[in-house]
């Protein structure tokens, strides 16, 4: 593996009202340097405080922050670059567009103040990428929530940052608007390749966008690494799983079944049939399978309306709230299934037993698929 210099090294402690941050983090590797690193945690875990410290909007009590080869903050050496010299683009949760400027003025604000020789993405390119051409003369006040966030992303991009920080940019949008923005974020990730740190507590967004994930809880980094890897770790499940019960597996697009409009996704446990995915063959994918779309049988089901059947061993059984039971099965990859406590009892399921998992192929849709980028490396603690 080639050694890429780390994207970001952080080692800081900081006490703010009600939260004590103590973060030690090293984000490196190809997939972080040219892709999206997700910062995941519950609200109040310290995610926003952490990126405010990175951007220079707050000052750590002590420690060090290094971006690429530039020291942004070092309490021992007395270095503390002001935000305008850090070259971190920041997309705020609430957009923060300037109300006295129109969209064009907002977009040009950072562009006019670019550091150095003013290189970077052109105005037209960014306007094109984010489909802003028809909004340029409008005022921010008259834009929809989704449009505002697109402008905010464009404005940050045009300041030619070395790293783009996104603080839950979709949190204030409804589901429809979210789906309107996600493709743009995917485009930005795949095309200009500016590294991004994406703060979110929404697993769906993370699975779709990020390759690397950092788990934050109570002001500390709990774990970091590839998204699939972290999401299959049992010990992290209290944090990762409670939000979106399910499993995330790495797969590649193996082929298409034209007659039924299906695609075959190869993964460590075999093949998964899913509604047709319009991507080139061999594309690396990340598939999220919700536990409620997986059911279990003790004998191999025949004549069933689901084609995805896998044999595996039960690793763990967890009573969920109320009458449900969540069962973890090893089918080559860890897979969570959810069934009623009653069926679990009737099937006499027990840890160590072998069982068949059945996955509904229609359960896998665009929202559960993310494109994996070349992996290798990741984030370390």
């Amino acid at each position: 593996m080639t050694t890429t210099p780390p994207l970001l090294e952080i080692d800081i402690s900081h006490v703010t009202a009600g939260l004590s941050l103590d973060i030690s983090l090293n984000i490196s590797g190809q997939s972080a340097v040219s892709g999206i690193t997700a910062l995941f945690g519950r609200s109040g875990a310290g995610k926003t405080s952490l990126i405010n410290l990175m951007a220079g909007l707050a000052r750590p009590d002590r420690g060090r922050i290094v971006l690429g080869d530039r020291v942004l903050f070092d309490s021992e050496r007395g270095i503390d670059l002001p935000p305008e010299q850090r070259r971190m683009g920041y997309v705020f949760q609430e957009g923060r567009l300037f109300p006295h400027l129109n969209v064009r003025g907002n977009l040009e604000y950072g562009m006019k103040r670019r550091a150095g020789n003013g290189r970077g993405l052109s105005f037209d390119r960014v306007a094109g990428l984010l489909d802003l051409g028809h909004l340029l003369e409008r005022r921010p006040g008259g834009l929809s929530g989704g449009e505002k966030q697109r402008v905010a992303i464009g404005r940050a991009l045009l300041s030619n940052p070395e790293l783009l920080l996104l603080d839950e940019p979709l949190a204030s949008l409804d589901a429809g608007r979210k789906n309107e923005i996600l493709p743009f974020l995917e485009r930005l990730r795949d095309d200009p390749g500016i590294p991004m740190i994406y703060v979110s507590h929404n697993m769906e967004e993370i699975v779709r966008l990020a390759d690397v994930m950092v788990l934050i809880s109570e002001g500390r980094v709990l774990a970091s690494g590839d998204v699939e890897e972290l999401l299959s770790r049992l010990d992290l499940r209290p944090l990762t799983g409670r939000f979106e019960a399910g499993s995330v597996i790495a797969a590649t697009l193996a082929g298409h079944d034209e007659t039924f409009g299906l695609s075959r996704l190869a993964f460590a446990g075999g093949e998964l049939l899913a509604p047709r995915v319009d991507l080139p063959l061999d594309t690396a994918l990340r598939v999220r399978i919700r536990a409620r779309d997986v059911t279990l049988a003790t004998r191999k089901p025949v004549q069933m309306g689901a084609q995805n059947i896998y044999r595996g061993t039960i690793l763990q059984m967890e009573p969920d709230t109320g009458s449900r039971m969540e069962v973890l099965l090893d089918i080559g990859v860890p897979l969570w299934a959810r069934l009623s406590a009653k069926s679990a009892q009737e099937l006499k399921l027990a840890v160590g037993m072998s069982a068949y998992a059945v996955v509904k192929s229609v359960a896998i849709d665009g929202h559960s698929l993310g494109r994996r980028r070349i992996t290798g490396g990741g984030a370390g603690m």
Binding site: P83, R96, H100
Partner: protein, 230 residues
């Protein structure tokens, strides 16, 4: 013009000149003081706040007397200005402008300070992350956002300056063509027998000027506010 006498025209012109200069000179200072009061954290802030508001609560005659003591030919500032630059303040229209500015200052500072306190500081932080230095942020974000407050402050101060009487007559006296502004002219006319008719005309002119100032302020403030909205 409109059948106005020389004396009346003189009073109107002088009033406008005094009020305009008074406002023009105090505006940058008012923005600075409003900034200190809204954002600053320093010892003596309450003292500064009190000092700025003093002309609002003191009898204008008292303010005029203090100005006379400071800016008169024997006063500390007045003597220095005269020795260094041969500028005389007391008993000239410049003194009238200073009296007007001092009396109107608290109103201007208040309006600007209120709008400064209403500025969303998160917008300023966003500007920093986009590469703007603090002074740049002030000029390109803060100042446009407080424009409506500045307009309100300027018009309030202008109107207050037009009506200034007590501090002016104490500080710079009542000299025709030099310091006899509209209020002083009206006062002079009603002191003398047979001047009521002319006094009434000047009162009406005062009403017209004041209404015009308010109308202009309304239009400007609306335009500035519209720039901040959809």
């Amino acid at each position: 013009m409109f059948g106005l006498s020389t004396m009346e025209l003189e009073a109107i012109q002088l009033s406008l000149r005094v009020a305009l200069w008074g406002v023009a000179w105090s505006l940058p200072l008012a923005v600075g003081v409003a900034w200190l009061l809204a954002r600053g954290r320093f010892p003596g802030k309450i003292l500064l706040d009190g000092l700025v508001h003093l002309p609002l609560v003191l009898p204008p005659v008292a303010v005029g007397y203090v100005l006379l003591v400071m800016f008169g030919r024997q006063g500390a500032i007045g003597a220095w200005l005269f020795d260094q630059f041969h500028i005389q303040i007391a008993f000239t229209w410049r003194g009238a402008a200073i009296a007007a500015a001092v009396m109107a200052f608290p109103l201007m500072v208040r309006a600007i300070r209120l709008s400064l306190e209403a500025v969303d500081r998160k917008l300023e932080a966003a500007a920093r992350t986009l590469g703007a230095r603090p002074a740049d942020v002030f000029l390109s974000v803060t100042l446009p956002l407080i424009a409506p407050g500045i307009i309100t402050g300027v018009i309030l101060a202008f109107a207050r300056s037009l009506g200034e009487f007590g501090a002016t007559i104490t500080f710079v006296s009542n000299i025709p063509g030099q310091t006899r502004t509209l209020p002083l002219a009206i006062y002079t006319l009603i002191q003398a027998p047979g001047g009521e008719e002319t006094a009434m005309r000047l009162v009406l002119i005062s009403v017209v000027v004041a209404l015009a100032a308010l109308a202009v302020s309304e239009i400007l403030a609306r335009r500035a506010a519209a720039r901040l909205e959809p």
